[in-house]
């Protein structure tokens, strides 16, 4: 049984249809990458799974249970956390408060705690009392990932974590991935940076204008296939 399976998932912004029937599977322990051009519907896909956009119940199945259309708070409680595009830390909260709010309403002890997040991202420990908007872009991204981990998710959805960051910073952030996987999370990454995505993913999906244009293991995909799937023929 797949951990997450979408079946003919569609999504709309008002009258505008952003997704036209996406079928995707995430197996337990897997890291998936979703690549595609701007406006292909990658972020929309993650937002729909996370409960920010409407979906029919059967179109998203999580561990055998239909969860499409549940509210975002319900979905995070079930174990799916989203690291939103653009970090979106809470500006009036300190770094530590931003992390702590990731565990809002939870009193179960999972793997991730403040101490473990600081261990994973030592740069944050030094800035724990700082207002979150004073952090550098990379630190903000670390805090956003840490915040999502604090919910001890079974599935971590990451939206464009490398966007606008220097290569060395991106490497730092991606270096945390093995540890996150080891903690028991399966991961779906939305990435513009194809090279980075192919390096870490077990499987890759490519979206094009709201439809799935390619699926496969990185080693099995040729440059041309990806090029065509990315830009269209």
């Amino acid at each position: 049984m797949a951990l997450i399976e979408t079946r003919g998932l569609t999504a709309f912004y008002g009258d505008f249809q952003a997704l036209y029937g996406i079928d995707l599977r995430l197996e337990e322990g897997e890291t998936l990458a979703i690549i595609g051009a701007n406006g292909a519907g990658k972020s929309t896909f993650l937002k729909t799974i996370a409960g920010l956009l409407a979906a029919t119940p059967e179109s998203v199945v999580y561990a055998g249970r239909p969860i499409g259309g549940l509210s975002a708070p319900q979905i995070v409680r079930l174990g799916i956390s989203l690291v939103p595009e653009g970090r979106r830390l809470f500006p009036s909260l300190s770094v530590e408060e931003n992390l702590a709010i990731g565990a809002y309403g939870r009193h179960d002890c999972g793997y991730w705690s403040l101490a473990r997040i600081y261990e994973l991202f030592p740069a944050l420990a030094a800035r724990r009392r700082a207002p979150s908007h004073t952090l550098s872009g990379g630190e903000q991204q670390m805090a956003a990932i840490g915040r999502a981990l604090m919910a001890n998710p079974r599935v971590l959805l990451c939206d464009e974590v490398s966007l606008g960051l220097a290569p060395v910073v991106i490497r730092n952030i991606y270096a945390a991935l093995p540890r996150i996987k080891a903690s028991g999370s399966s991961i779906i990454l939305v990435e513009q940076d194809i090279v980075q995505a192919l390096q870490v993913a077990n499987r890759v999906y490519c979206f094009q204008e709201g439809r799935m244009s390619l699926e496969g293991r990185p080693a099995e995909l040729s440059r041309d296939q990806i090029h065509t799937a990315y830009f269209g023929a």
Binding site: A72, V76, R77, F90, S92, L93, I101, Y104, G105
Partner: protein
């Protein structure tokens, strides 16, 4: 000289009352960006609730307010849950229209039930008690209690905001309601709790409104105006700023009244205008906005 010091002190203490009016408004606006145009009328409504409890059970105003507070907390939660949450969205107009409508409904409902007669929450000896500071200056116990309560209310609200998980959720939801949901925060529940807490603050405001002066069903909108001015002067979202705003209006009114009794209200509004011109974002605007 003594007369002026006296005026200043009276103004500061009057400011405590305005800060109480403003705290509830500030709380709701700060968390939900919801301007409650019925805020003043809810204060008057609460004063009548306290009055009814006093007459029915023979209680003094403080005990009656203590009894009314949980009921008003519930009323606030229900009001937000069943009505105001439906009005919150991208458009700022629906909450304004709905709370404006509530204001009219409350005023007329109170008129229907209690008539237009002036009422008062009689507190007995404490109304006329005072503490002498020497040099011919005395502070009314009631006025001092009002200011102390305003400070107390703001202290407690700040503790909730900055020391509890609920407060963290309040601030997060205020910052970014969409991402707050991703943290497992149910915005509608948070909003309902915010209004419920605001109603308890309203109950405290009502207590001092009713003990200090006469009230009748129609005086709500003027209280809203003072509350509004205090919030804007202080800077949106800053509770201590709200206290400062209340005190500035109170002092301006007291000084105005000292010069000429007809100038009392006008002086308060002029002080508000002056701050608006010099510091359009208020004295203590919240960082990052």
């Amino acid at each position: 000289m003594t007369a002026w010091i006296d005026t200043l002190l009276q103004g500061v203490m009057l400011g405590g009352l305005y800060a109480l009016f403003a705290a509830g408004l500030s709380l709701m606006f700060g968390i939900m960006r919801l301007v409650n145009l019925a805020h003043g009328d809810f204060i008057v409504l609460s004063a009548f609730v306290v009055l009814v409890l006093m007459t029915a059970l023979g209680l003094d105003p403080f005990l009656a307010t203590l009894l009314a507070a949980p009921a008003l907390f519930g009323l606030g939660y229900a009001l937000q849950h069943y009505l105001l949450n439906r009005t919150i969205g991208r458009d700022v107009l629906p909450p304004l229209l709905v709370t404006f409508g509530l204001s009219i409904i409350i005023q007329n409902g109170l008129l229907e039930v209690f008539s237009a007669d002036s009422q008062r929450l009689k507190a007995g000896a404490i109304e006329t008690a005072s503490i002498s500071l020497g040099g011919g200056i005395a502070l009314g116990t009631m006025q001092l209690l009002t200011l102390a309560s305003a400070i107390g209310v703001i202290l407690v609200l700040n503790l909730i905001f900055y020391r509890t998980e609920l407060g963290r959720a309040f601030r997060a939801t205020s910052d970014d309601p969409e991402v707050a949901q991703l943290m497992g925060i149910d915005n509608r529940h948070i909003f309902s709790l915010a209004t419920a807490i605001a109603m308890v603050v309203i109950a405290v405001s009502a207590l001092y409104l009713g003990m200090r002066a006469n009230f009748d069903p129609t005086i709500g909108p003027a209280r809203l105006l003072y509350a509004f001015e205090a919030v804007i002067i202080g800077g949106l979202g800053s509770l201590w700023g709200t206290l400062a705003g209340g005190i500035i209006i109170g002092v301006a009114q007291a000084v105005g009244a000292k010069i000429d009794p007809e100038w009392q209200i006008l002086a308060g509004h002029l002080a508000f205008l002056a701050v608006l011109v010099l510091r359009p974002r208020g004295l203590f605007p919240r960082a990052g906005q």
